[in-house]
């Protein structure tokens, strides 16, 4: 392994120490784990402040605001247009500042205004997008041409086509039955009850698959961390061995 510098070795050791600190929780809650946990809360919050300041606040608010203020010193554009842009750029900050009213009991109700704006815009954006993406598209994907499905099953195109056709039927019937299970305004008995029962079977297979997938993802992360520790020991060996 390529020999690392003193600085890299120091930071690799810090990362290895913190990895051990977190793994120590497997024994029980202890001061090392709590140290790493509190450290990462502070580091994470500070990192996000830096990210949001440089990538969002500066680009979206401070720079346009400064530009709209300095625009008054140039001859380009009308005063009305410049004033309009200034108002457009000041307003989000002014609304945002209202959030600080939360710090004072008497004025805390004013913080509902920026929350209302945020919620209103988010709800308005989400309403058509979710209905389009999560309902209409999914329903449309379920509306397959039965001729193509039965063609796959009965045309004798081989086992792959046959199982694909069966799979498409599983998707269509399974999703309808899954929805039947989530429908609680009618009693789950008779034909509807049978559909709901089939629905929960499909849902359980789906949950099992998702669970298995999650386990594999976590295990691969664990392998990644163990690999890192091996890499750190090798680097340590190379550093002191040379």
């Amino acid at each position: 392994m390529e020999q690392v510098s003193l600085g890299t070795m120091f930071w690799m050791t810090v990362a290895a120490f913190l990895t051990f600190c977190i793994f120590s929780f497997l024994y029980r809650d202890n001061p090392f784990y709590r140290f790493a946990e509190h450290l990462v809360v502070g580091i994470s919050a500070g990192y996000w402040i830096a990210i949001l300041y440089h990538t969002s606040l500066t680009d979206l608010w401070i720079d346009p605001l400064v530009a709209s203020v300095t625009a008054f010193g140039t001859a380009e554009g009308s005063v009305a247009g410049k004033t309009g842009m200034l108002i457009v750029n000041i307003t989000p900050g002014a609304i945002g500042v209202l959030m600080f009213s939360r710090f004072f009991k008497k004025t805390s109700w004013i913080s509902r205004w920026p929350i209302a704006y945020y919620l209103g815009v988010s709800a308005g954006v989400a309403l058509p997008l979710y209905l389009q993406g999560f309902v209409i598209r999914q329903v449309a994907a379920n509306m397959m041409d039965p001729r193509s499905i039965f063609g796959m099953i009965f045309a004798g195109g081989g086992a792959a086509d046959f199982f694909q056709g069966i799979g498409e039927i599983i998707i269509i019937i399974g999703s309808i039955c899954g929805l039947a299970y989530f429908y609680f305004s009618a009693e789950h008995k008779g034909v509807f009850g049978g559909a709901a029962k089939l629905g929960i079977w499909i849902l359980m297979i789906g949950f099992g698959a998702t669970f298995g997938y999650t386990v594999m993802a976590r295990i691969s992360l664990l392998i990644g961390r163990l690999n890192y520790l091996i890499e750190w020991v090798r680097a340590l060996n190379g550093f002191f061995g040379s």
Partner: protein, 216 residues
């Protein structure tokens, strides 16, 4: 005033944003972009309030010498250090060798990855409880999870290598992920879509008011 104004703001903003989705005009698109940018800016101020609460909480723990107050010093020092580091060096985010990014690569990233890796152990104990196949539903859950797990690693095909292609663990795992899993996800997505649609409508129309909080 205290409740009517925010309810009016929610209604006007929500109705406009929902309506503009169906108006393919550049003015509508520009207003949409400005409105979204404003939410990001307001969101940053909201984050400031959150950071303020975090500082308040830990300052309170230190000043009153509450249990484990020493760890609050770690949080506050780390927060102050990263904030100063981040705000004072505008190009730090683009430079992978800057101190800010070094802290990210060697402190934040390893701790977060290890925390998620730690879940592998807890998920194993959860799996033990979930996989006790006492009912048909638990059996289906277990079988599906085991097939998907074995199908994604070498040992799965090693065990079923004698079976014809299409019947091995990896093939069955792929089939489960492609079809029954898609059916389950589709049902959930439709449910989520309808749920979000109804909830956002309730918020816009002022039927859902819990976000206003208590008080007048």
């Amino acid at each position: 005033m205290r409740r009517e104004v925010p309810l009016t703001i929610v209604f006007v903003c929500g109705a406009f944003m929902a309506f503009q989705y169906f108006v393919p005009h550049h003015v509508s698109a520009t207003i949409y972009q400005y409105a979204l940018n404003w939410t990001i800016i307001i969101g940053i101020f909201t984050l400031t309030v959150g950071i303020g609460s975090l500082i308040n909480l830990h300052y309170d723990r230190i000043s009153k010498r509450k249990e484990r107050w020493q760890y609050s010093i770690v949080t506050l020092v780390a927060l102050a250090y990263m904030t100063i580091l981040g705000l004072l060096s505008p190009n730090a985010l683009q430079d992978p060798k800057s101190l800010l990014m070094t802290m990210y690569f060697y402190v934040l990233s390893p701790v977060q990855a290890t925390m998620f890796a730690l879940l592998a152990f807890f998920i194993a104990s959860a799996a033990y409880r979930a996989f006790r196949a006492k009912t048909l539903l638990a059996t289906l859950l277990m079988l599906s999870a085991v097939i998907v797990m074995l199908g994604r690693v070498f040992i799965g095909d090693f065990l079923t290598g004698w079976l014809p292609e299409g019947m091995r663990f990896s093939d069955v795992a792929r089939y489960i992920l492609d079809y029954p899993n898609t059916a389950a996800k589709r049902a959930i997505y439709i449910g989520v879509g309808l749920g979000v649609g109804v909830t956002t409508l309730k918020i816009i129309l002022g039927i859902e008011r819990t976000w206003l909080g208590g008080g007048k």
